[in-house]
Amino acid sequence: MSRLCHFFRTPEAIAGASILALLVVVALAAPLLFSGDSQAIAGPALLPPFQDWSLPLGTDRLGRDVLAELFHGARTSLAVGLAAAAAALLIGSIIGTLAGFAGGLVDEVLMRITDAFQTVPSFLLALAFVSIVGPSLGVVVAAIALGAWTGPARVARAEVLSIRERDYVAGARVLGMHPLEIAFREVLPNVLPSVLALSSVIVAAAILTEAALSFLGLGDPNRVTWGGMIAEGRTVLRTAPFLSVVPGIALVLTVLGVYLAGEGVVESAAARRSLS
């Protein structure tokens, strides 16, 4: 309870949490409100917003309902962002923990691999991966995670280097615990808080990367995505700018919400730590 109180002390955290809550509601409500195919033709093409209240945000070039597309796009953005960030954090913490705990040659090899991934721009990596394997939701998630796991890996390794010298790790060794069990049961859970602090940045970056991939036509073709909507609207940018602007605003708000809420979590954690 006190955790929540701390969290809602700053206006930024409240704003971020509200945006995220709205996004989650939209994503969950999408199939209920727009039960039909969101990519089906719903009215005349290029209907501007606020003209027909059955199609409040108008229609796109093919006469598809923009609001329905926006709602279904929220599902994709949120799903890809969260899944990619979760995958990146999981892979990163496991590799960082192994490198930091094992030390020596294992550490050298794993950290050089991390370096290699970090020197390649993560968007290029995602682009290359999706072009080779082919666009689908799972591949897009994997492609984004592939470029995002290095940050968590470095943070986890740095934490492990300090934790592995603690008495309780020596105590686990004295008990005869297997090194892998020490790494994943004694060390990793104590590394997670620092790694999780990165999650808002990674989720936000993942949502943007997904949008960029979709914009370039490398998103899952069977799903509506905000990036895809912007790309579609680009061809009629002069006559119907709302087709690009509306999903663009949704994207900006989402990323902003994730950042603000993440910042709120980090700050409330810091406040709790300074109190105790």
């Binding site: 309780y168 020596a170 105590g171 005869g176 615990m177 297997h178 104590n190």
Partner: protein
């Protein structure tokens, strides 16, 4: 036959590029149900010896025989299973446990790792261990950070005796406790030694405590043995300069007793 025999143990570190000997040519042995005290000022190599004896760090040279076998020759898996026989209690009972652990989990680990009790039997064994060290069995569900320092050190002792070791290394195990609790913990250690015939390597800078529990003493100075012998005799009449300094630093109460 001695439980632990250490001969010519040496460990060197590099400090600012220059090598310095943390432990230099140290030899001692401990018999069954015997308490050997390692005393000495800070930086004299006491804790390094504790970590060497437990193979938390590897010595540069020297030999460690544990229960008659070459302890340094054990491979990883053999060493892990041998660790049931040689246990340790740390100075700071809070740092010695995973901050997320509960008392029950701390005591479950040794029973599980060394296959001492089946999963169904373990809760009963944990309760028995807690009662053995003078704690309430209901404490098992509590988190480590919720209990007092004295209770935590009792849990640490319960963890150490869970695998029926023949030797426990006590690295300043009572130094962080307040005086009233210290006496109770020392009583518990003596009682366990009598009943289970456990040998102790008792590391402390407090000669008053050493005099109360140790049979023999080894006084260290800068990684070397300065003096050794019967604990009471050495403390009553130290020969080395460092021994005299340590005795002089102990409250008079103890020195004047016959």
């Amino acid at each position: 036959m001695s439980v632990l025999a250490v001969s010519s143990l040496a460990k060197r570190y590099h400090r600012g590029g220059k090598p310095f000997a943390a432990v230099d040519d140290v030899s001692f042995d401990i018999g069954p149900a015997e308490t050997l005290a390692l005393a000495g000022p800070s930086g004299s190599g006491k804790s390094t010896i504790a970590r060497l004896v437990l193979r938390l760090i590897e010595p540069d040279t020297g030999r460690i025989d544990f229960e008659g076998a070459d302890f340094l020759a054990l491979s990883c898996a053999a060493l892990r299973s041998c660790r049931a026989r040689i246990q340790m209690v740390f100075q700071d009972p809070l740092a010695a446990f995973n901050p997320h652990a509960t008392v029950g989990r701390v005591l479950d680990d040794p029973l599980r790792i060394h296959n001492i009790a089946s999963r169904a039997e373990r809760p009963r064994r944990i309760a028995a261990l807690l009662e053995r060290v003078g704690l309430d069995a209901g404490l098992a569900a509590r988190a480590i950070h919720e209990i007092s320092g004295g209770q935590r050190q009792r849990v640490a002792i319960a963890r150490a005796i869970a695998t029926h070791p023949s030797l426990i290394v006590l690295d300043e195990a009572v130094s962080a406790l307040d005086v009233s609790v210290r006496g109770q913990i020392l009583e518990l250690l003596l009682d366990l030694q009598r009943q289970e015939r456990i040998a102790y390597l008792f590391i402390s800078h407090d000669l008053g405590v050493i005099r109360a529990v140790a049979h023999r003493i080894v006084i260290l100075d800068s990684g070397r043995i300065a003096e050794s012998g019967d604990a009471r005799a050495v403390i009553a009449n130290p020969q080395s300069a460092i021994g005299k300094a340590l005795v002089a630093a102990t409250p008079k109460l103890i020195r004047n007793r016959p």
